[in-house]
Symmetry: C2
Subunit: 220 residues, 2 copies
Amino acid sequence: MTHSEENYLKGIYHLSKGGSVAVATNAIASQMDTKPSSVTDMVKRLSEKGLVDYRKYQGVSLTESGSRQALKIVRKHRLWELFLVEKLDFKWDQVHEIAEQLEHIESEVLIDRLDALLNYPDFDPHGDPIPDKNGVFKTREKKLLSAMPVPSEGLFVGVKDSSATFLRFLDKHRIALGKKVSILEKEEFDHSMRIRLDGEAFRISHQIASNLYIKPNAVP
Amino acid sequence: MTHSEENYLKGIYHLSKGGSVAVATNAIASQMDTKPSSVTDMVKRLSEKGLVDYRKYQGVSLTESGSRQALKIVRKHRLWELFLVEKLDFKWDQVHEIAEQLEHIESEVLIDRLDALLNYPDFDPHGDPIPDKNGVFKTREKKLLSAMPVPSEGLFVGVKDSSATFLRFLDKHRIALGKKVSILEKEEFDHSMRIRLDGEAFRISHQIASNLYIKPNAVP
DNA sequence: AATTAAATTTAGACAAATCTAAAAATTTGT
DNA sequence: ACAAATTTTTAGATTTGTCTAAATTTAATT
């Protein structure tokens, strides 16, 4: 498989949320930052290789085999991201581009060793789950902060938007994975919220709240 | 720079022994395991980019700029090889192919961090010197075992042939970097030698002896 | 020095991955 | 339901990197 094929598989995987949902040519084009005509070409190749199901004008979905491949790439990407943060002291906003390259390195053993070096981690630096060798990942309950009831509590466990700008915004406000969050108040008008984090209460916009994943505290 | 361009630069670098020596199209072709016509094409591109000096039928040499680039790739390759051995428990015969891919990852910071993680090493797992950030490498006296006087002593510090088969042969005979070697006898007829290693004396062929680098012990 | 041999380059073709512009199919709006 | 808008595909071109086969240049030999 070429790098480009791998990238397409990964893109389709993300758009179809890891599943067999059909995705549109245009959607793939914008995800991959390329033209629809290029997508059509590539999708035909992937189809010939049995990695996607494709019917003209009807969208694309991953086959079993395509899905397995995509998961491997996702696994590699996330393991490398964690490696960069854990072993090379990169910040969570600096790892994506490099992992984007590293994910294409071909070597099963290499990834297994990396996995071991990192102690078989379940989540990457952005809180996204890392599939294991068999493509299985740990799930955990998580809700968008914007969807949490008032009042309630939970743990900040992941980001929906993992763009460098958003991540740096979170750094600036000391919002980091693993911190405890209390939801104090929700504003009907603009859907902004008041939350407590590190003992300090403050207000965040709906835009922000709808990009933070919270693991709700179990309520007995 | 594309991967292919980088590979050619590295190939030319190795053939010209790191210098400005002109190398032949055929030599590059066999080094790169490709056809002479492909070399001509690529060499023209590299020449247009100012990375090599090229005059038709007269061979190719690296420019200052080409040499700098080549050294960067060599540095990356050797740092990654050492990383694989030191941090991921690979054997010295398993790292080349993977490093061949990793050397193309683009990120200055990544390499600097890797360098730091490995404590700014001077030599890779095969005893080859690792250029520092500025392209400078530590030199040390070394001689082919076949060129050592009788009797003499030294340290096994590197291999000339670093093919997996040769490295595994050395493993089998417990010949490992850093070990002390005593040269006991040289056979005029077939140039084979008797040496002592780990307290045990044995005979090795000229073929082997001319692929092992020894750092001779200082004689007062 | 002329001829043969070897090395090198050119010419033309091909696959991968992309693009633009035009054509075709599907979806939407009234 | 049919025209308009949108989406998708096709056709044809481009770049990179490679190849084979033929032509050219340089080197070697007698």
